[in-house]
């Protein structure tokens, strides 16, 4: 026989599981999301950086 505690535990577990299902299907994927800019300037695709000939001083 189901008592209140059992009903509560089952319902809570169902809620957590259902919430998880909803999230995993509804979460936006990262880079497939369209980015919107409010500016009207032309945006070009960045190209590979030009190398500067210089002795490095990074931490190495």
């Amino acid at each position: 026989m189901l008592n209140r505690k059992r009903v509560g535990a089952i319902a809570l577990a169902a809620g957590v599981a259902f919430g998880g299902v909803g999230l995993s299907h509804g979460a936006p994927t990262t880079t497939t999301t369209a980015k919107t800019m409010t500016t009207t300037t032309t945006v070009r695709r960045a190209v590979a950086a030009a190398a500067v000939v210089r002795t490095p001083r990074q931490t190495g």
Partner: protein
């Protein structure tokens, strides 16, 4: 005495309420995902979702871009004032020249955008200054914006760097990382310069990418302890080890691949 019908109705109501509470709990909890799988990397999501927060745009003046991992801002005037807030009268956080200390075009990674009271657009940008992660606001009119196709995710514990184009993993590269005394700090950075050493047979190898971040230990290093990603002249002892002062070392063939691919501004997420 409660009738059986009322008791059932109360239990059903309680069940529905608990289901809703459970869903709320689940939604409020952070979603933990294994960082080792490219498709499920939380770090990748943090960097790129979204690079822009749309503010007061209208459909008429909006410009929609698809497929970029983020946006770079390159300084146009001879120097740029970076402010604490998106307003002309906000305090100036730092003034930076149009080229950095190594002669590379001064470039930032754009984190956000906003219009001020007059309608002028401002960008919140990640800055190449201490402390790591510092941001500030620049006028959109003072920078040229470009779309970034790639992003890097570094997994220090696995000595690995992954190159992504959008959701696609292009290449996984083995790394050497900082020692326990001079660890590579985790965080969000971007590529601010590409250097080609005059002598390719040094610890830096054939190319060096300078990052926007700094060592947390080597504060008196030349140029302030800038972190880098570079090649090596000793691949047998440089990969899959804690060997560096904080930089990320890789084989020369890998750094040559990246040098031919990555623009300035490319985001780099370092997972500890």
């Amino acid at each position: 005495m409660t009738s059986p019908i009322r008791r059932v109705a109360r239990l059903a109501g309680l069940a529905v309420a608990l289901v809703l509470v459970g869903m709320g709990v689940r939604i409020l909890l952070p979603v933990q995902r294994a960082p080792t799988s490219p498709e499920r990397s939380t770090s990748s999501e943090r960097l790129s979702s979204p690079a822009y927060t749309v503010s007061t745009t209208t459909p008429d003046d909006a410009r929609t871009l698809v497929g970029y991992s983020g946006y770079a801002a390159t300084v146009k005037p001879a120097s740029i004032e970076v402010r604490d807030a998106p307003a002309p009268g906000a305090p100036v956080r730092v003034v930076l020249p149009d080229h950095n200390e190594n002669g590379a075009p001064q470039t930032f990674f754009i984190k956000d955008e906003q219009r001020d009271a007059s309608g002028e657009v401002w960008y919140r940008v990640l800055l190449p200054i201490r402390p790591n992660g510092t941001t500030g606001w620049v006028r959109a009119a003072d920078v040229e914006v470009s779309g970034l196709p790639y992003r890097l995710v570094v997994y220090l514990a696995q000595f690995r760097l992954d190159v992504f184009q959008g959701p696609h993993l292009l290449r996984s590269i083995g790394l050497g990382v900082g020692t326990d005394q001079t660890p590579t700090p985790g965080g969000e950075y971007y590529i601010k310069e590409l250097l080609r050493p005059p002598d390719p047979n040094t610890v830096y190898g054939h190319y060096v990418f300078g990052l926007s971040g700094f060592s947390n230990v080597l504060v008196n290093w030349p140029d302030g302890g800038v972190l880098g990603i570079h090649g090596t002249n000793d691949p047998a002892h440089a990969i899959a080890r804690k060997v560096s002062h904080g930089c990320l070392r890789m084989r020369n063939e890998d750094i040559e691949y990246l040098a031919g691919l990555l623009p300035l501004g490319t985001p780099v997420e370092v997972e500890t």
